[in-house]
Symmetry: C2
Subunit: 182 residues, 2 copies
């Protein structure tokens, strides 16, 4: 709480690929301890995770191949914030690309870290409502399957083996809270 912020003594880029940048940081703590950390550095803008919600309480989920987990994953539409975009513009674009709807209203519910210990990455959780059909072409290798799911059935969603991302659980929790369900 009142602990003094550690000092970053030095930092350098160790490795860089198309989508990943790994940085090394030498940190000195207020007790004198010195540690070298490795961390993944993302673009400062981060990503958006969109919760598309119809008026009757139905969520529009997508089923998409997740190369990380190596299988189709059920989840919320999301994507990186492109250079020059803000979270709002990214949310509007991704909604059209991934579910074929343009939301009239978007509201940022929270901004979440992914792994505070070793990733700089942030995901903005965006509630999208008043949806009207409008398609934009994204960079998906195949059309995404849209899976409607009613918010009241959220416990069944937690039990879905292929709905597994921690930040997807978090988004669900935030929307349940926002809509007065919990």
């Amino acid at each position: 709480m009142s602990k003094k912020q550690p000092i970053v003594v030095s930092e350098s880029i160790m490795m860089q690929s198309k989508i990943f940048t790994i940085q090394s940081q030498e940190i000195t703590f207020s007790n004198g301890a010195s540690v070298t950390y490795e961390r993944l550095v993302s673009s400062t803008e981060g990503a958006v995770l969109i919760v598309p919600l119809l008026e009757d309480g139905t969520l529009l989920l997508i089923r998409e191949y997740g190369a990380g987990v190596g299988r189709y994953e059920l989840g919320f539409p999301k994507g990186k914030i492109d250079a020059g975009e803000n979270w709002e513009q990214a949310a509007l674009r991704e909604s059209q690309e991934e579910i074929g709807f343009l939301p009239k209203k978007v509201k940022r519910l929270d901004s979440l870290s992914l792994a505070a210990g070793y990733m700089t990455h942030y995901t903005h959780i965006v509630l999208a409502t008043e949806l009207t059909p409008q398609v934009a072409i994204g960079d998906e290798p195949e059309p995404l399957e849209i899976v409607p799911w009613h918010l009241d059935d959220w416990k069944a969603l937690l039990n879905e083996l292929h709905f597994s991302e921690g930040r997807a659980y978090a988004a669900l929790m935030l929307v349940l809270k926002e809509t007065g369900r919990i």
Copy 2:
């Protein structure tokens, strides 16, 4: 849902540092589209996130420097599952190292992916109860601050700016559900 699993045509390690391994995968989808993905490969065992819960409903959180976000972060004790350990052994070890308590009971509530699109990483969410004081020495550069927080005050915890990990929200949600609070 009934989509055919894409085929991994080839894969190779692109880069490796002390804690990160980046792999390249060429994937062919059932529609013939071919894509090269980069993904972060973790140890197959993954990590544990421990929710230490006292009998009166108090959570034991920790405040720890997060090199990823570059500040002190409020969250649950957690750590990598070491080689030769299972999630249960890792949970017992990390509980002693990070909060100085040995749980008599541990229960796996769920296993969560971090970023299904580009990380293989899984975190097991473990509820730890019947805690008795027992300290083990970990590899922390400074003593961790323990922050008691009552489960009934979960909405205030979501509002804490430095309680920001998606998987921490998920763990909180799972424990609220497990204890019948939501």
